[in-house]
Symmetry: C2
DNA sequence: TACTGTACCGGAGGGTCCCTCCGTTTCGTC
DNA sequence: GACGAAACGGAGGGACCCTCCGGTACAGTA
């Protein structure tokens, strides 16, 4: 989890023990509250839940986006490992499809938090400063490349587009009456379009 | 524009002249402010811009969604007429594609307001009470049906899915570095998947 | 035109949230 | 234990949401 430095993974001086503890608490509270109310949940509620003053929350996470990104980083890491695992599959097209579908499922979890966070990161200049996001992209690109080399997936596609689309589907079907069914149909449509 | 009844198009008793005037002002203000700040703009700012008390705004539009929907109704109507026009095209697949692409373009306008509004409506039970939205759906369904009958578009698709996806693309590429290019690529991918 | 009932106006007010600032507390080190 | 620095936490100013109700002005009637 690395709560050693609050926001980013810079030079990183060592934090005091209480600071480390509080950052972890805020992160846990944020995970809880975001999960309940989406990424526009009250930061004061998060601080309350974490048993921490609002000032402390702001010191560690100077704005909402930083906090969302921090909460989201674990998810990113998990997706990256999952991608690495799928890279060894002997059906590259299926591996890509599986990975993307999992991304979509994930993105509509947490009341759209994951999708929002992902799209936010995609909007910044290539994931901005987030190495976790870069890693995810790299794995995705590899999965896509393998699928393309196997000849079953269109060559003129970029992972950035696919991730964005997959997250868009997750987001747009977030509150749909038949969410699972609809997102699956849309996903299939996308995969259909992806075939070469 | 029909500001005769503020929220919906029910039995509609006649409003007093000042009430009608104020509703129109609020609507105009809302269009302005939503356009600048997206659909989570301040309602008080809208009231200020309209030169109207906040209480007046709330009487005519009891909550934010109603106001967004009212602002959005014109757009909906325009899209519906455009669809009717395209129904006479002799290339049904191209007509569908054109119409959907225009929907997408529209949906990323107004800082995502249109897409949010559309998705909101799709989430309610079949457009809820909005006849404008129902009309849009009906036209879209006809366009799709014609394209399907021409044999160039998959038969197992519903207009609801397509509208949702198209709006999702608009929404997800809203702040993208290369918005137009990216949304076009994603749209093409979708259309590719739509071919039978 | 003056009158009157009422539909409508508008803003004060209580609640929530955002974010900053700074006096106080706690940690780590000597 | 003492001390400097790091971190805490909550008060406070500003913005927003939405409701409520005293006041205003419209639209019929005489």
């Amino acid at each position: 989890m690395d709560t050693g430095a609050g926001t980013a993974q810079q030079p990183e001086r060592r934090l005091r023990a209480d600071a480390r503890r509080n950052a972890a608490r805020v992160l846990a509270g944020a995970r809880e509250v975001f999960g309940e109310s989406g990424s526009d949940a009250s930061l004061e509620e998060i601080a309350r839940r974490a048993g921490v003053g609002i000032g402390t929350l702001y010191r560690h996470f100077p704005n909402r986006d930083v906090l969302v990104e921090a909460v989201f980083r674990e998810t990113l890491d998990a997706a990256t490992s999952r991608g690495e695992q799928l890279l060894t599959s002997d059906d590259p097209a299926a591996a890509l499809a599986t990975w993307l579908r999992e991304q979509m499922r994930q993105s509509s979890a947490c009341r759209g938090l994951a999708a929002e966070a992902m799209i936010m990161m995609l909007d910044e200049q290539g994931c901005g400063s987030s190495t976790a996001c870069d890693a995810l992209h790299a794995i995705g690109a590899k999965l896509l490349e393998r699928a393309q080399q196997s000849g079953t997936v269109r060559a003129d596609t970029e992972i950035d587009d696919l991730l964005r689309l997959v997250n868009a589907i997750g987001l747009a079907t977030e509150d749909a009456p038949d969410r699972a069914g609809q997102s699956d149909r849309l996903f299939d449509l996308m995969m259909q379009g992806l075939r070469s």
